[in-house]
Every structure is written in structure tokens, then in C-alpha cells.
Amino acid sequence: MVEWTDFERATIQDIFSKLEYEVVGPQALARCLVVYPWTQRYFGNFGNLYNAAAITGNPMVAKHGTTILHGLDRAVKNMDDIKNTYTELSVLHSEKLHVDPDNFKLLADCLTIVVAAQMGKAFTGEMQAAFQKFLAVVVTSLGRQYH
């Protein structure tokens, strides 16, 4: 079981309560596809991913980014059992989508940077640590059902 301090719990709830999912989700996914272009391999049917502008303006990327962020919501509301919260999604990503689990970390890093850009100075080192710990637990849980 993951141990969360009061500060960590409060920080995660606070950050997510202030996020516009329809903005941050698309930005995080788009950033991942731009910064780590090999991740585009999973989105062959998304149309034009030819350059940064195309990726950022792509409606399928935006829609999927929002979906992903809403998926994170499950962990935010279930911090004491993130492992089991993502059993099905882990199986899905492994068996059906065949996504290399290393990619989860790449997206998590991009999300951290999007949140940092949005919050600016308010995103302190301690908040960053809490946010990264949360995402690390999510990433591990998503990789758990791979075999």
C-alpha cells in the first residue's frame, strides 16, 4: 500500500481540482507526441501528425488527451487503491493496445511540465515531488498486468 502524507493528498486534490481537463489533457498528449516522436507509433490512424503545429491542432489528439486525463481522475479519487483501480486499463494497454509501458513515464513527464508551465512559481519543489510520486504510482499500476 502506498503511504500518502497529508500534504501529498492535499496537493494532488488541489492540483487536479484546478485543472481544465479539456486543455491540459490535449496539451500533455500533444507535447508527448512532439517531444518523443516515436510515441506517434500508437496513433497511426490519427491523421496529420506531421509537425508540432499539426499535432497541437489535431482534434483526435485533443479528444484522446482529454480521455487520458479523465482516466487519471480515477486515481485522484482512489488514492488508497490505485493499483486495483487500473487493473482493467493495464490489461487493455498490454493485450489490446500493445503499448510499451516505458511510454507511460514519458507522458507523465510531459504532464508534469504542462502543469508546471500553467502554475508557474506556485508549482514548488515539494508539490512537484508529490505530483511525480502520484504519477509514478499510476505508471506502475498501468504496467502491472503486463506479462
Binding site: 517531444v35 508540432a52 502554475m119
Partner: protein, 141 residues
């Protein structure tokens, strides 16, 4: 591979940050110590508390080296030669830590630049810092 545009972008960003080198450097280090406590083991001989003299001077050194390298990325191996020797034979910092520091530097840049830290700038910066770290570790073995 860094394109000409990317090199110019990187050079421009670091040129702008040189006047606040110690703030940027100290912040990146602090973020790294908070998120990755194992990295503190390399600093047991220094005072690395919030904006301590050691932290500021150390942060400044690192950022100035990164900025210097950014002026002519094609010459990175030449520019970093003395630092290569220092890290290989004296400091012997495990190169995994370079990745951790680079990540925290990117977060620091995002906090300071906000929207200006576009996906394109982020990609270029990540590539540059990776190249910088690779050159730094070249003499390790």
C-alpha cells in the same frame, strides 16, 4: 539531431537566462533534491538548503556551463573537455542522475517561461540537455 533552428532557439533561451543563472540553477537543484532524494548523497559536504550560498553558487556554475555549451553546440566536446575530466575522475556522479537533473531543469524552465516553453522549445531543450549529459559522461569509461 539538432536542427539549425533548434540550435538558435536553445542558444537564445540560455542567452536570456544567463543573468539569472544562479536562480535557475539553484531552483533546478532544489527540485531534484525534493523529487529524487538519492541525489542529495552527492552533496553531503555542502549546505543545500533553500537559497544557501552553496546552492546558489553551485546552481550558477551548472547553468553557466550549460549556457556556454549552447553558444556553439557543434563544439560541445571541446567546450566540456575540462568538465568531462572532472566528472569522470573526481566527481564520478552516476550518469543516471544527469537525466534526473535535466528533467528538473525542464520543469524549472516551464515554471519560468510558462506558455513560451512551447512543445517545440521543450523538445529542443530535452535533446540539448541529453547531448550535454552524454558528452559529460564520455570519459567515464
Amino acid at each position: 539531431m539538432l536542427s539549425k533552428k533548434e540550435r538558435e532557439l536553445i542558444s537564445e533561451i540560455w542567452g536570456r537566462l544567463t543573468p539569472v543563472a544562479e536562480d535557475i540553477g539553484a531552483e533546478a537543484l532544489l527540485r531534484m533534491f525534493a523529487s529524487f532524494p538519492g541525489t542529495k548523497t552527492y552533496f553531503s559536504h555542502l549546505d543545500i538548503s533553500f537559497r544557501s550560498a552553496h546552492l546558489l553558487s553551485h546552481g550558477k556554475k551548472i547553468v553557466l556551463a550549460i549556457a556556454e555549451g549552447a553558444k556553439d553546440i557543434s563544439q560541445l566536446t571541446v567546450t566540456l573537455a575540462p568538465l568531462q575530466t572532472l566528472h569522470a575522475y573526481q566527481l564520478r556522479i552516476d550518469p543516471t542522475n544527469f537525466k534526473l537533473f535535466s528533467h528538473c531543469m525542464l520543469v524549472t524552465l516551464a515554471c519560468h517561461m510558462g506558455e513560451d516553453f512551447t512543445p517545440t522549445a521543450h523538445a529542443a531543450m530535452d535533446k540539448y540537455l541529453s547531448a550535454f549529459a552524454a558528452v559529460l559522461a564520455e570519459k567515464y569509461r
